[in-house]
Symmetry: C2
Subunit: 333 residues, 2 copies
Amino acid sequence: MAATSRDVAREAGVSQATVSRVLTAGTPVSEKTRARVMDAMARIGYVPNRAARTMKTGRTGTIGVVVADLGNPFYPQLLEALSRSLDASDHRMTVWVSDGGKNQAALDAIREGTVDGVIFTTVTEHSHELARALEQRSPLVLVNRTVEGADCDQVSSANRQGAGLIANYLVAHGRTRIAFIGGTPLASTTAQRLGGFSDRLARLGHPLPDELVAHGAYTHESGCRTAAQLLHLNPGINALVCSNDLLAFAALDTAKAAGIRVPEDLWVIGYDDIQQSSWRSLNLTTVRQDVAQLAAEATRLLLARLDDPDRPAIRVELEPTLVVRASSAFAPA
Amino acid sequence: MAATSRDVAREAGVSQATVSRVLTAGTPVSEKTRARVMDAMARIGYVPNRAARTMKTGRTGTIGVVVADLGNPFYPQLLEALSRSLDASDHRMTVWVSDGGKNQAALDAIREGTVDGVIFTTVTEHSHELARALEQRSPLVLVNRTVEGADCDQVSSANRQGAGLIANYLVAHGRTRIAFIGGTPLASTTAQRLGGFSDRLARLGHPLPDELVAHGAYTHESGCRTAAQLLHLNPGINALVCSNDLLAFAALDTAKAAGIRVPEDLWVIGYDDIQQSSWRSLNLTTVRQDVAQLAAEATRLLLARLDDPDRPAIRVELEPTLVVRASSAFAPA
DNA sequence: CTGAAAGCGCTTACAG
DNA sequence: CTGAAAGCGCTTACAG
């Protein structure tokens, strides 16, 4: 059905090997031959077969990406950015949407030669699969969520620092009756942001009591439940810090339902600065992550590892910035 | 590096062909041999090489999915559903995030044997690539956005019918000073929803004047601009119907900014029923699409086509339902 | 039921 | 610069 390099060779009156050489940069082919072959390829509508190429080169040109939850708009944004950076380096992207179980599928794909390497966006602490994959020296990089001490390339926001910016900001404006809502403590995003926030608050003289910290899942529904509980048990709270924007949206919803005015009575702060956060109906103060940069670094590190499996693992942290919007800005003095 | 079937054969004391047979369902292998081979595979940690298999079978086991805009939460939801249904049928999913240009990349992937077929979620009318792909008889299916008269399998919401539900609802409640905001008219979602809506309105005796129909892009920003213009030029409007939820969110934002109360002064209606629509801060009346069903049908049709390239093309329309929420429900009599 | 062998479509030393 | 040939790791007739 589809034309092969042999068909092109026949059409151009050269050997099959010469056709292949024309396709491979840096191989010596005379201009005349090259032109004849290119012509023949165009006439026939030839496209080289990827599987055959993969068999010889051992490279698929495809990278796997594992995402846990596309319901958090942060991940589609990250996925889109990864698509862009992988595309720019001429790679395809195979995606697994995990409910926890798909990390293994992606790692298997490395072993069966479906992808060259894998980008994990949502790894959690104590992941058995991760440990085994690292033992097998599978080419992989962690983006967004990281694992302390894991021997692989990792890219994330400087979460502790970003959370510190929030603490500074709240204390500077006298909003010190603060509660914190996190996702699962097994996610580094929750752990590091809570850690950085609480440490900074303590250093500023306003330690965060344990009973004002709540954990849940990274979903709207869980955020609503957790926020309602916190606000109910601690009516004096005047700032609610959430470990991501999705939870912060839930907090805004919950405050609205309880008749609590934002920002007059309550400031709400998120983390990520996803697109929705700038919508007027949400208008959330948050810490911005540069998703494009996150994706670019992840891609760069993974491709570098494919080229040199023995290079030492690198940990990249991107600078976060505080973005002040209406969920906090216009507080009374 | 990685173990091959030959390594397994040596370990099990059989021929390489026998190892291959153990992996292929429906090939006759004695129980004793099978057990010995399975054992050897487990010991060695053998995983069959996909590229080699693809070369022989002509099947990659991977399906391509092209998505235009992950900024509209509908698409991540659809992508997640597709991931699930493809996974259930033991296929991997390669994703292209298009800014218009990636349809061709996906079609090329079919020709180079990277994917077996492609699912387009965001095709537009008069697509040159689509026409060429159909000429080449590339295995593909259109989901969500469809193209009238295109000779390929297509799945979508019954958009005209869904939009009709909105018209019925508005007229029944006397909300007849209506404007409509669409995305690009080249998208079937806009064309069909507008068509179905306007036809039904006319039939109910309240024809929709041209000047109350505005088109833009399917983005929050464009929605805000378009809504602001419509509301400014036509202060008497008491219902704003949007061709998807993303635009409806923008309409809500815009109304809020203009001091227009929803639903007292203005009803806002969307289409899709994405997750966010049920959040309290948005709480949007909308028409629900069943994303899981959309994905399941698309997957089913594509795999059926791979098995039988000559089967006649099918057009599937899924039943929409109206979901009434606070952006319309609690209007004064 | 099992083995020996051909072949899928490329890339890449090896000669010339 | 070019051709003939080997081989990547499988599947699958073809014999036995």
